[in-house]
């Protein structure tokens, strides 16, 4: 069924983004996967590439060193804005430190320089700090009184404060990276607005690096500045990526997770009955929700690559649909069921291959401590608006999430 002919004969598609069920991927992705693990994809700038939908093919591709991320593109969005912003970003000197756009050996060198701050142990050592941050936000919610927007009152400050601690900046700095990140993530922002946000963001990161040179602390950026392993531009680029990816993704995931738990009470009650299950709950939510809704940033074949039944020609770009791969029944039985008893390990929500999320363990800890803290402090938490009044980001956003989540207790 999935012969080369069929795969190639399939008409190219634009990345499907229209959802029917709020917590399920667009049904068109399912239909495509049922015809084969990959299909031709028309990128928004018109170029023809591939969309991988099957789990095992996706994993195989992401670990394959014959693919480069150097000139990645996003499969959706206004091609003029996206293209212009990519050109600007790539012309900035700090682009040299942006891991997601780097291949070995630069990628390896820079990732290793930062990795010790994100190991399983280094993150576990921060448990008390994360507990403190979560308790502080829970106190603030209680003081404010119900209802509150869980995204702005809880999830966003908690994820921002956590990355502040790893990178060694005061919590009060959060506005300086949250504001430009929000503009860069906004599909409605113009190229000029995004350009200004990039400049503002890099200026902030350069400012932090200067501060670290003058008065170093016990944190990642101080270490990088003093060790001399990376150039200043590389540190600035790396810092920008860590600030950006370090707060938006976790805040979005946490808020969507709470929506998911509250929208079917038995889910919330399962966690409430046994908060120690939080780690397994988080892992399954990661798989089920797969918030990186556009899939991976594209990879480009550096030579003709034959994978399974498809041949990806040199120069062609490939995107792996993380939401659909994580619903592949060949890997996860009854994939559309949210099942806290399943072993969700191996899901692709953090990516796979050498670009797999550097902050994955930090994200897991934040999500685990935050969910546990919420069920323990507010066991009767509920949505303060009807389900249908919760508004979700559209398919043109990189991440899938809710715009706000009013809750009460």
């Amino acid at each position: 069924m999935n012969s080369k002919q069929d795969a190639v004969a399939t008409e190219p598609v634009e990345l499907p983004s229209k959802r029917i069920e709020r917590l399920d991927p667009p049904p068109a992705l399912r239909h495509l996967r049922e015809r084969g693990p990959a299909c031709r994809l028309r990128f928004s700038d018109g170029q023809l590439g591939w969309l991988v939908l099957g789990y095992s093919l996706g994993r195989e591709l992401l670990v394959d060193s014959r693919f480069s991320v150097a000139d990645f593109v996003q499969p959706l969005g206004d091609p003029e804005v996206v293209g212009e912003v990519d050109r600007i970003e790539r012309s900035m000197p700090e682009h040299a430190g942006v891991l997601i756009a780097l291949d070995p050996p630069q990628h390896t060198r820079i990732r290793r320089a930062a990795a010790s701050y994100f190991t399983v142990k280094a993150v576990a050592d921060r448990e008390a700090a994360i507990e403190r941050i979560v308790a502080g936000r829970l106190d603030a919610m209680e003081a404010a009184g119900a209802p509150v927007d869980l995204l702005t009152a809880f999830a966003l400050p908690l994820s921002s404060f956590s990355i502040c601690e790893v990178l060694g900046v005061p919590h009060a700095d959060r506005e300086r990276f949250e504001r430009p990140s929000a503009v860069l993530a906004d599909p409605g922002a113009s190229a000029a607005e995004k350009r200004a946000a990039l400049v503002e963001f890099s200026d902030y990161c350069r400012d932090v690096v200067d501060r670290k040179r003058e008065s170093p602390g016990a944190d990642l950026l101080s270490d990088l500045v003093s060790s001399g392993k990376l150039s200043e531009d590389e540190i600035v680029g790396l810092a920008r990526q860590l600030f950006e990816a370090g707060h938006e993704t976790t805040a979005t995931m946490l808020t969507l997770s709470v929506f998911t738990l509250l929208s079917e009470r038995s889910r919330w009650d399962a966690l409430r009955a046994d908060p120690e299950r939080a780690a397994a709950v988080v892992e399954e939510l990661m798989r089920y929700l797969s918030i990186l809704q556009m899939g991976t940033f594209s990879r480009t074949a550096t030579e003709d690559v034959e994978l399974g039944d498809v041949v990806i020609k040199q120069g062609e770009k490939v995107v792996v649909s993380i939401p659909e791969a994580n619903r592949d029944p060949e890997k996860f039985a009854e994939p559309d069921a949210l099942d806290f008893d399943r072993n969700a390990a191996g899901h692709l929500a953090f990516g796979h291959g050498r670009h797999m999320c550097i902050g994955q363990h930090l994200a897991r800890w934040e999500l685990k401590v935050a969910l546990r803290g919420l069920v323990e402090r507010f066991p009767d938490l509920y949505l303060a608006v009807p389900l249908e009044e919760v508004h979700f980001y559209g398919g043109e956003h990189l991440l899938y999430g809710v715009e706000a989540l009013p809750v009460a207790w």
Binding site: R111, R112, A115, T119, K121, A345, G346, M356
Partner: protein, 68 residues
């Protein structure tokens, strides 16, 4: 069963440590994998096989005793 790590490709993601913490650790210098017990105890074999399968950079491999 013996487990071997290829430090040339390891990116220090730590998935192995999450999966089989009794067998794997990470360097506090660069996050790279440290195999704590190369000869895997029988009780850990299943988790080690899972860790090998999950490794995002395909840095881990198994050498079964009868092959070595």
């Amino acid at each position: 069963m013996r487990v071997v790590a290829d430090l040339d490709v390891c990116i220090g993601a730590g998935v192995c440590v999450l999966t089989a913490p009794k067998v794997f650790d990470q360097s506090s210098e660069d996050g790279q994998v440290r195999v704590l017990v190369e000869l895997v105890p029988a009780a850990e074999e299943m988790l080690v096989r899972e860790a090998v399968d999950l490794c995002p950079s395909a840095a881990l491999s198994i050498e079964d005793d009868d092959e070595s």
